[in-house]
Symmetry: D2
């Protein structure tokens, strides 16, 4: 079978380099172009020297790809920038996986309230399918535009979906206490990502106002067909990669740990990238991979359900899930290119 | 004024060395002896080489201190071992600050249920005062035996006490999501503290069963004069020192962030070691010190109160608070020896 | 072509798990067995939970493999243990790649002097080929027993070989200042690998006496056909993986940086796993891969040559190079299974 | 005795905050002013929140201090900026300790060659005393301007001075392989100090051209009364604080480790901040303190002397040594304010 041609728009960030890391070993696709406005004309390996000898194409401009015969384009752009590309290209022949937050929410109003930024392509909200294969696989297969989920939402939604599907928990308040590695903040050096600020340190941030709050809440509400209220608090870990979300909910009927485990096992029985763990999962057990590891337990003493979701934020939380979505959209095997063993340690 | 004579029982662990770090600059006390059964006869600086040239006494046996004229003894021993010393010495002239968990709980039955270990000195539970100066200062001044609080409880209790005192929150379930540095696990190398297991990693542990759960719950129930239910989940951070506890509770009356801040300000107005922060606190802002930094906010969207307590687990969570208790018990200035600026970075 | 059958003897350490990480995606081999004496009967994924869902065979005993039809066996055993297996199996049909230090040196006397341990299979020194493909590729292809190089030696030898080959440097003293990640010390928790001992810390160790000193010295002397004296100092970095060796030598003729770069370029022109860098290399640029990145420069002010070699100690310094050797020994493509992009960050 | 009044010019960097950390517990001085041009009018604790409740003066402008009655001024400014202050204030009543590199070298020409920057106050080179108390104590006592040594030079010079003093080593090439923590690069976030660039990583930098090369070489040449050639290579460690310098030299006469240890013991017999170690020193054994820990050994096999010097770059490498110099310049006890125990872990 001829390889599919894809392009990556946005070469300089972590999602760009992570897409390349995955795709250069993908059996079914060819990276036809990779763009950067700021470093056009340089080699990809000048921007990411670890790729010397491995992947060294010249970076092109975003305009250069319009004439190419592409099957799919990944947008590894900041939010607020992706929407311009989508607006200009939504009727092109190629499909789009947008890794930014521009089309994850339900509509323009919600977007503007949480992103404090004007949205210029309202129609995109209708067209976009939220790229969580475990929840919306069939719709993704037919989508022309997939909004690749945020990193925190991926870890949280997968840890909660079976509980909501089965109507097991109180929807009036779910507490999600999340901890993320620094790559979630992007490749650009900022005071709060300066090494001596992060190393041997830990803090909460974005309390009450982080944009992923509304993303989680909208998606699980939609999935539960009911209004769910989510309290989400992110924290910054002194690690490169990985998100661990500890989710606290209250059962609305009698449950046991064994029953919960059974619910999760059945729900995820055919999912290639969700692993139920019987011991407490950790970041390194999924590092570099597209896995989401999940742990569930019931605490009778406090009548609470605790679920933990763990992902690599650059993989299942970004590039890995984007490739999984691409595989679905292009009719490839869902796991192609993603059979990667965790790098531990 | 003549210096008080103190002894430290248990030289080889982190609490032992941290007590020395603080006390060698304390104006009012003299370290008369420091003991170790396993390394008796060696110098303290052989065990902790960072003290070369600073503090090099010979380690003595625990029996050697019985004949000394001591004002106070710190027990830097594992739980299950402290009780033997207290049993044998509770009627001696010296006072005792026990840094282990042996006398923090209400009684023998609770201890044995959570510590899975027999307790051999039931009378100690009655005699011991829980060494949280912000809650029990007057009782500590008169105590002969102080049970120095656990590290997680200190960060949690101080973040919750004002809310309970004022009857502001629902006591039926408080969620405490805590994150600790590795020194909390002690100085002994174990598989789960092997560098490649912890570095760039993160995990929950002791879920539903950590002993500090009952310590927190009993103390705040006692303080609130009512039954409080606590759900406590500890996590292991790749950092040396520090605990950050994120506490989620539900108000029982209408509140605002401003009102909460005022409650906390008044409550801690005269406390030398509690700092209310108006930005999100971090581990390094208290590193090496006896401070507990606290942040409080109300989330109207979810009708929740979020309070964050941050300490250095070896200081306010162990040795620092022990010295603060010693100062109270010996009639010294409460802040003596503890005017230390945070080491950041 | 039918897949080759290989076995891994020694499942519990880092080299065992790293061999599996590489080999489960290798197109030409099948892992027929993996052994552990201490955890026989358990699943491989019980020992290394990151492999859950990926690789879960039952661990067998070392005796179980004697009846198997194997093409090659990897020995991921401690030194002093490998020799027993080699002694017992050197005339079997399968080839052996020994990842320990048991057959890297020239003879029994040297081994016993540096390893402080008796050697029980003297004939092995003659049979073993030192598994550095860049130096001894043809001999490796024909070898029945390959002594896989040590991690420090790999980074140092590759940084020095072109200089020695061309007779460019003074052989009376080469200074190698090396820095390694903690995985080099193995998977077993020890006081010096306890997280709080390593984190935010740095120290030299094994000064003047590290066994890799003699390994480097013997191999480069043999390669230079002359006696070379090596001063080697290892240091312990607070990182998981990676070795960076800074090598200082003195030219014996007039050189320039440009000339040196040309020498290295020609020398390594056809090497798939050596990359010459024109900027200073770093650990993460090779992390998870079989690359050795090299930098060379001449300092006219001090008349010195500085060469830097960087590898992932678990890959080019252990499992990766072992697979490269296996590929040569079994007539497979040398790069099979090793086309892995660096994980950065 | 009345306290001395000092000012700190430059509040926003690490040396500024570290000077405050030390000086707020100094018995003999009062911080009369602390300046910042960029954040004038804000509180010091707004810039460095860890000082909330401890030290909260308003930051003033550099011009505001000209009218104050000051005994000494610390310049915690970047190089190239300090010279302006010194030029304008060298005839004022107060003494100056300059923590920048502006007056450490021998003259304007050397400065401009290595710093690639014009120097505007040539007379300062004559006036300035290099602030290494162990080498130039008496001159420092009388100095009006002290050039506080660089961090790498402090660790290196102290590791080499006794060898040079006794004429024990070949001066034609000394190799210094140094490793530093990230705070050495300052408080400003840059791409090469972005957390994911440093964490779990390691690299050399400034090879052949780092400015501290000439600083080390000039000072030890002056001290040895002979030309010494220094090859210096810095590396960036993933740690906050600390420098470890491994120095390689060749003896010019027969020596043994015992003889070397005796030379160092005698040389440093009365030095309060130099500790000779009989085991390999590490960064954390000096963290937060003004100590320089030194290890010396002779390697007979290669006829080499290896000396290791370890400091906290922000203390003995900057603020601590600056306070030590201040104590000497103001006639205070040399150790005042510096009796700090290492924070380990």
């Amino acid at each position: 079978m001829a390889k599919k041609n894809i392009a990556i728009v946005g070469a300089t960030g972590y999602t760009g380099s992570e897409l390349v890391r995955v795709l250069i070993n993908h059996p079914g696709v060819n990276i036809a172009a990779i763009t950067s406005e700021s470093r056009k004309g340089e080699k990809f390996s000048d921007v990411h020297p670890q790729f010397q000898g491995l992947f060294e194409p010249e970076l092109v401009g975003i305009d250069d790809i319009s004439e190419m015969d592409l099957d799919l384009v990944f947008l590894a752009l900041p939010h607020g920038v992706s929407m311009d590309f989508v607006k200009a290209n939504h009727d092109k022949a190629f499909k789009i996986v947008d890794l930014s937050g521009d089309f994850r929410l339900s509509n323009k109003e919600v977007y503007e309230a949480w992103y404090k930024k004007e949205h210029n392509f309202e129609a995109g909200f209708e067209q976009a399918v939220f790229g969580a294969p475990e929840l919306f696989r069939e719709r993704i297969k037919d989508a022309r535009l997939v909004a690749n989920p945020g990193c925190f939402p991926t870890s949280s939604i997968l840890a909660l979906a079976p509980l909501l599907k089965e109507g097991l928990i109180d929807k009036s308040r779910i507490v999600i206490d999340s901890k993320t590695g620094v790559t979630g903040a992007g490749i650009k050096a900022k005071p709060n990502t300066h090494y001596p600020m992060v190393n041997d340190n830990f803090t909460a941030y974005g309390i009450k106002s982080h944009r992923h709050t509304i993303e989680i809440q909208e998606i699980i509400s939609k999935y539960a067909n009911d209004e769910v209220t989510v309290l989400f608090t992110p924290h910054l870990l002194p690690v490169d990669r990985g998100i661990l979300s500890t989710c606290y909910s209250t059962p609305v009927k009698s449950v046991s740990t064994e029953e919960l485990e059974k619910v999760f096992e059945e729900y995820y029985a055919n999912e290639p990238f969700v692993r139920l763990r019987n011991s407490l999962p950790s970041l390194k057990q999924v590092r570099g991979t597209n896995y989401c590891d999940i742990y569930v337990t019931y605490d009778g003493r406090t009548n609470s359900i605790i679920t933990i979701g763990v992902i690599d934020n650059l993989m299942k939380g970004a590039a890995g899930q984007a490739v999984q979505n691409m595989n679905l959209m292009l009719g490839l095997n869902e796991t192609d290119g993603l059979s990667i063993a965790p790098i531990q340690p």
